[in-house]
Structure formats: C-alpha cells, structure tokens
Amino acid sequence: MPQVLTMERKDMTEYKTSENKGQQGETLLKVENLYKSYNRNTLVLQNVQMALKQGEFVSIIGPSGAGKSTLLRCINRMIDPTSGSILFDGVEMTTLNKADLRSQRAKIGMVFQHYNLVSRLSVFENVLHGRFGYKSTLQGVLSLFTEEEKKLALEILDKLGMKEFAYKRCDQLSGGQKQRVGIARALVQQPKLLLCDEPIASLDPNSSKVIMDHLKDISETMGITVLVNLHQVDVALKYSDRIIGLNKGSIVYEGIPENLSNMAIRDIYGSEIEDLILE
C-alpha cells in the first residue's frame, strides 16, 4: 500500500508541474484590502492583507471574536466580503458567478471544528462528497463515482489510518477519527489550499497531535498550502512556517514563529504573556 501512496504523491506533483504552478514559493493566494462588516457599526475584518505561497503552513492566531473564522470563510466565499480583493490560483474570487465559484471551491478543501460530516452516512460516502465539485448534479445525487475516485478515497483514508473504518457510520467514530474523515474529504478534492477552522479545538491532546501532524505532512509532502485557525499559541509555534496574529479584525503580527515575541503576543491577545495558559 505505501507504494501506491508515493505514486499518488508523484501524480499530484506531476499534475502541478504540468500546469506550471509547481515551483515552491509561487504565490497561491493573495488577499488585499479585505473588509467585512455584518452591520454598519462593527467591522469584523479591516484592511486585511496577506499572501500565501504554495506548500506553506500558515497559522492564524488571535482571541475569540477576532475575525479568524470570518477571514477563512471569506477566502472560499462561504461569507461574502464587504470589499477588497481575493486572488486565488490566478482568479479573482470576489466577482465570480455561481458556476465559476463552484469550480474554484473544488480546489479549496475545508476542515471544520465540528467536523461537519453527514453523520448518518458511512466514512467512505463522506469522503467521496469531496468530489462533488467536479461532478454534474445528477452524478452527485445518484452517487456515481468513478473507479479512480473510489481508489483515491481509499488511498487517502489509508494514509490517514482510517481505512479499516471506511464502511462504518460516522456517528460511531470518536472526535479524532471524525476529524480525520473531515481531512480525507478535503484531500479527495485534490485541493491546492486547505482551510482549517479550529481543527483541534474539540479534541483531546493526543488526537490534536495526530491531526496537526497530518496537516503538517500534507503541506510538506503534497505541496498543499495549509491555512489554520488556532487557539493554541504553542501549537502554532510548533507547526507553522509563518504566523499571522489577528486582533479585532486587523492583522497585528505577521512573521516566522521564531520572531513571535512576548510583545507581539501581547499585541495579539491584549494581555501579558504571564496571563495566558501556554501549554
């Protein structure tokens, strides 16, 4: 089975070089002057600028209500931004029509805090849901998946150590297992970008480590850009290539983990480092 996996990885890199976007360091996502407000009085996001490179692992940290989830959901337009520009894979996201948005979303995987699986369906069915973006309505409704798609789903499940659970119903799984199914569903999209909204906030420390290790592995070996919202500063420090600090909708820190000083943490969380629980 491991051989098949390396083949799979090679396939994906080939696919990318053939499109001439495979070089590490090329900008995949560029967000400029992004604003979001739900009503006139409060700005949830103000003047957000950021750029993500291919294969980068970037964490967004910040206190509750800083706008982390909103920022993530603006990128795949689950929430429509008020103004600004989001350039993903060479396409401006903010002005897309429904059909084009759909094919762009297919290239962006999303992982949720509460896993958001269809709990009454099997693991395998849930993972195949990741292919909907590439299928016609009828194919999707009737669950007509090709042999390759099914193989891909099983390979990804195997990689995440979930193959033996493939035919189990999702409501019988533990939290850590559900989140791995969530990641598998995102990976089966063969995405270029993975958005993870608090992926470990509902998990115990052991499962959290498993999930974060998988995410790191995905960015390193598959060349997929991973953008993670995190509550835990220590986790962000350990795994990220780069950290973005968000406070009240503005970016107050951006840089490599080594440069995240106590001063910067105070700017992000608005409190002294001694007051934060950091383990």
Binding site: L101, S103, N116, L117, V118, S119, Y134, T137
Partner: protein, 263 residues
C-alpha cells in the same frame, strides 16, 4: 449571600402569585359559563353506566363489521395517500423555507407564508369549503387532509432541516457541491428519520381527522358513523369507535418499529 436568599424568596412569592391567579381565572370562567365542577363530577358515574350499556357492541351490530372494516380501509388509504403526497410537496416548500437551504429570502418568506395559511385553516373549514366545489366525494376529503397536512409538515420539516443539517450543508457547499447534491446527499440523509417520524404522526392524526371529514363529506368511516349515530344505533357507533382506536394504536406501533429500523 443575603442577595441570593432574597432571590429565592422572590421566586417563591412569584410562584404563589401565579398559582393564585390561575385559580382565580378558573373560578371566574366557570362562574361566567355557569359550569359547575360538582355537577360535572357527579354526572361521571351515570355517563359510564350509559356508555357501558349502550356503546358495547352486541351480536347484532357485529353483523356490520365487514361494512365497517371496508369503510375503515377506505379511510386508512385516504389518510396515507393524502399524507404521503402532502409530504412530498411539503419537502419542496420546506427546502425553500428553511434558513439552511433557502434559495433566496423572498422565496423563503413566500413559502413559509403559504404554509402558514394552509396550516391555520382548520381541516373542518377546508372540508366545508371544498365540498361546495368538489361535492360529496372522496376527492373533497383528500384535498382537505392534503392542505392541512401540507401546512403542518412544511413547518415541521423546516425545523427538522435547520436542526439536523446546518453543519453538513456548510461542508458540502465548501466542497463546491451543487444545490441538489447538497440536498440529496446532505440534508435528506441527515433529516430522514425525523421526517419519517413526522410522517407517521400525520398519518395517525389524519385517520382521526378523516373520520371527522368523512362525516362532512359523506365518505369513509365518518359517514358510516354519522348514519348509525342518527339511527340511534349506538352499538355500531361503539364498534366503529373501537375499530378506529385499534387502527390508530397499530399505526403508532408500526411507526415506532420503522423509526427504530431506519435510525
């Protein structure tokens, strides 16, 4: 600490006040309607004796059993037919009206408004109005049941959809799924057990309603009930009532079994 005790004391006073007011309302309204509790309770034994002597079906009324069962079957079929067709229509309206799966706001409001109108006109009123246009036949009964069931199920389904599937809908939309992919592979699998549960609830409600509607439209078990009631043939009336009770309990039993099977 003192403040806490005060809160507890206040709560007790509030409860006492609420109980006193309820008692006052009960006494006041029974005086206004000249309803006497003592008299009402005193007449209970007599009523039971009358029911026991008149409503227990005897050998003579048993001859009517085949006729009763045939009409009862007609009523069950009508109820199942109207409930299932109404459920299909209700599913579409619920999808439009739910805040999780709505297509747009105006259509959501429209759908909820239409359902509300159908729901808030009682089944008896529907039957009386429809009997004018369709006449005394099964079609009238079918539509009367269809309309009220539709109105009720739209609301029940909207709540089921919103409760069961907000999270998986978000995930499916994020993968780039189309609307119908999201509905058929996300919303329906998640809300199916609850929806089927509502369906059975409506089928057994409708068997009871169908009796009443039949009385007005001259069809089904309700009509038979009406005829024998007017002939003062209370034994057959009793027989019909017992048959209806048995069927409703049987359906509840089946619905519990099915629910456990699909959950």
């Amino acid at each position: 600490m003192n403040g806490n005790l005060d809160v507890v004391k206040k709560k007790k006073i509030q409860m006492t006040l609420v109980l006193l007011i309820m008692l006052l309302i009960t006494v006041g309204t029974s005086m206004l309607t000249e309803f006497s509790f003592a008299q009402g309770i005193a007449s209970i034994p007599g009523t039971i004796v009358w029911m026991a002597t008149n409503l227990i079906p005897g050998a003579e009324s048993m001859e009517n059993l085949p006729k009763v069962l045939a009409k009862l079957w007609e009523t069950i079929v009508l109820s199942v037919l109207s409930t299932t067709t109404a459920a299909i229509a209700a599913l579409f309206f619920a999808l439009l009206g739910s805040k999780t799966t709505k297509v747009n706001q105006p259509m959501a409001i429209m759908s909820r408004f239409i359902a509300s109108v159908f729901r808030n006109i009682p089944v008896v009123a529907w039957a009386l109005v429809l009997v004018i246009s369709f006449g005394h036949n099964v079609v009238t009964g079918y539509f009367a049941l269809f309309f009220t069931t539709f109105g009720f199920l739209v609301r029940a389904f909207i709540e089921t959809i919103d409760e069961a599937s907000i999270e998986s809908v978000e995930a499916l939309n994020a993968t780039g799924a189309t609307y119908f992919q999201m509905v058929f592979r996300g919303v329906i699998p998640e809300s199916l057990p609850q929806m089927v549960s509502w369906l059975f609830f409506m089928i057994d409600t409708n068997i009871r309603s169908a009796t009443l509607v039949g009385l007005l439209t001259g069809t089904g078990i309700g009509y038979l009930f009406d005829i024998h009631y007017k002939r003062l043939d209370y034994e057959t009336v009793g027989l019909i009532t017992i048959c209806i009770i048995v069927v409703v309990i049987a359906i509840e039993f089946i619905s519990n079994k099915v629910r456990r099977l699909i959950l």
